[in-house]
């Protein structure tokens, strides 16, 4: 017998008690689905109710792709969940958070975006490997460790960057003084004399919000789609 063992009664959820469009715990998110949502492939862990999952391709969902994707190029990684019920989403036990956009824009690393409402539209960012959401609605993103919000001007480590909202100026920044002169050159080339690994950052200025994760471990990148190979388009090749 183990009657005196201190075991807390665990919380058991059902279709009525699962949170409505909120986190169940830091790692799982419950969507109250009535209509359609876009999910990244393989992020559904369980659901109650009647929900169908459609791969995106040609056919009846064409108009939806036209409205929400504007480009079929990266559509293959996405699924449309359609129906009514509660849908649980999670990603490799990473932290998941929902964010609301109100007639705004947010650019996020492709591997971090889990799901979004069709009222938002998803586009490829000019910055390779990033996706941009535009419009009004809710989306869900994963991060390794919790997300922190920073106000520009701020410089962030490339690996810690999750995304940014409303800032038009993501650019590279190098610690010039540290890399100056002959000694600096040797340091930069060989790491001798102590490279801190922090000589390069992303620089944000202006009005907006920058999202960073509390680790420098990257989530695997998702194919954000190829861009047309033409002059003036960053990224191709």
């Amino acid at each position: 017998m183990s009657g005196e063992s201190p075991v807390h009664e665990p919380v058991v959820f059902d279709a009525r008690t699962l949170p409505v469009n909120d986190n169940v715990n830091p790692y799982a998110f419950s969507v109250d689905l009535d209509g359609r949502w876009f999910l990244q492939k393989g992020k559904m862990i369980a659901y109650y109710g009647q929900i169908d999952f459609h791969g995106i391709g040609h056919g009846p969902l064409d108009h939806l792709i036209a409205a929400s994707f504007h480009s079929p190029l990266h559509a293959a990684d996405w699924v449309v969940a359609e129906g009514k019920g509660r849908l649980l989403l999670a990603d490799r036990a990473f932290d998941v958070n929902s964010f609301d956009l109100d007639d705004g824009n947010l650019t996020v690393r492709s591997g971090n975006l889990l799901a979004f409402e069709p009222s938002l539209s998803l586009k490829q960012s000019i910055v390779p490997g990033f996706l941009t959401l535009i419009g009004t609605g809710k989306f869900i993103a994963a991060s390794n460790g919790e997300v922190h919000f920073m106000e520009p001007p701020v410089r962030v480590d490339p690996q810690a960057l999750v995304g940014w909202a409303d800032c038009p100026s993501p650019c590279h920044h190098y610690d010039h003084a540290y890399l100056q002169g002959v000694l600096g050159g040797i340091r930069a080339m060989t790491g001798l004399g102590g490279a801190s690994g922090e000589e390069h950052q992303f620089d944000f200025v202006g009005q907006g919000t920058v999202l960073i994760q509390s680790t420098e471990m990257l989530l695997a990148e998702r194919n954000a789609g190829a861009v047309p190979d033409q002059a003036g388009v960053p990224g191709p090749g």
Partner: protein
């Protein structure tokens, strides 16, 4: 008698009183102990000869050790989260790899699960735990407990399934259609549908499954 206590969410502390006080634990899951402990590897999951043969045949092999002694023994496995499940005579179904520790009074066995196992790449069988006492179940990220009752069936991704208890029927649900064949699959083509009365444990993460990419 054995007392189970969670140290945080990823370490299980089991206090043993000595004498005939034993627990069964996943082989190699001990991270520390104080007092006097002996660890004995149990052949074939500790279910006896018949169980050993069954486990061999079904592929639901389980490396189990018997822990005996006086003191506190700490168990953990790859920083997985641990849920304690109290059993009062009912049966718990759990994947062998997700079972961390069971009280001495609990019996373990194997049972046929049907196609769910096949899609999970975990074989067609699952491990059962029966009796009265506590069992510790592992999950990648804290497990979410979902109740199934009449009129409220639950669909679970095979890769996120960890365990279930209660009077549940499971069936395999497939959304494979011509689009899957064309390479426009949804990645969510296979689900396990649970009906009846009971609780299902799911983890906020997916194992790689055979059906996962379809």
């Amino acid at each position: 008698m054995a007392r189970f206590r969670l140290e945080g969410s990823k370490v299980l502390a089991v206090t043993l009183a000595g004498g005939g006080d034993v627990v069964k634990a996943k082989n190699g899951a001990m991270v520390a102990y104080d007092g006097e402990m002996t660890f004995k590897k149990l052949t074939g999951g500790g279910d006896g000869l018949r169980g050993m043969v069954t486990r061999r045949l079904t592929g639901e092999q389980m490396e189990v050790m018997q822990v005996k002694g006086q003191g506190t023994c700490f168990f953990a496995d790859r920083a997985s989260d641990i849920s304690l499940v109290r059993l009062n005579g009912e049966k718990l179904h759990v994947e062998a790899s997700n079972l961390l520790c069971t009280e001495g009074g609990l019996r373990t066995g194997t049972t046929f699960t049907g196609l769910r196992g096949a899609s999970q790449g975990n074989g067609l069988f699952t491990t059962t735990v029966e009796g009265t006492g506590l069992a510790a179940v592992l999950s990648d990220g804290p497990a979410v407990l979902l109740r199934v009752s009449s009129g409220m069936p639950l669909q679970v991704d095979p890769g996120a399934y960890v365990a279930h208890q209660g009077d549940l029927r499971q069936s395999f649900q497939s959304g494979v259609n011509f689009r899957t064949v064309l390479g426009e699959g949804s990645g969510e083509s296979f689900q396990v549908r649970f009906e009846g009365e009971g609780v299902v444990y799911v983890q906020p993460s997916e194992r790689n499954t055979l059906g996962g990419d379809l």
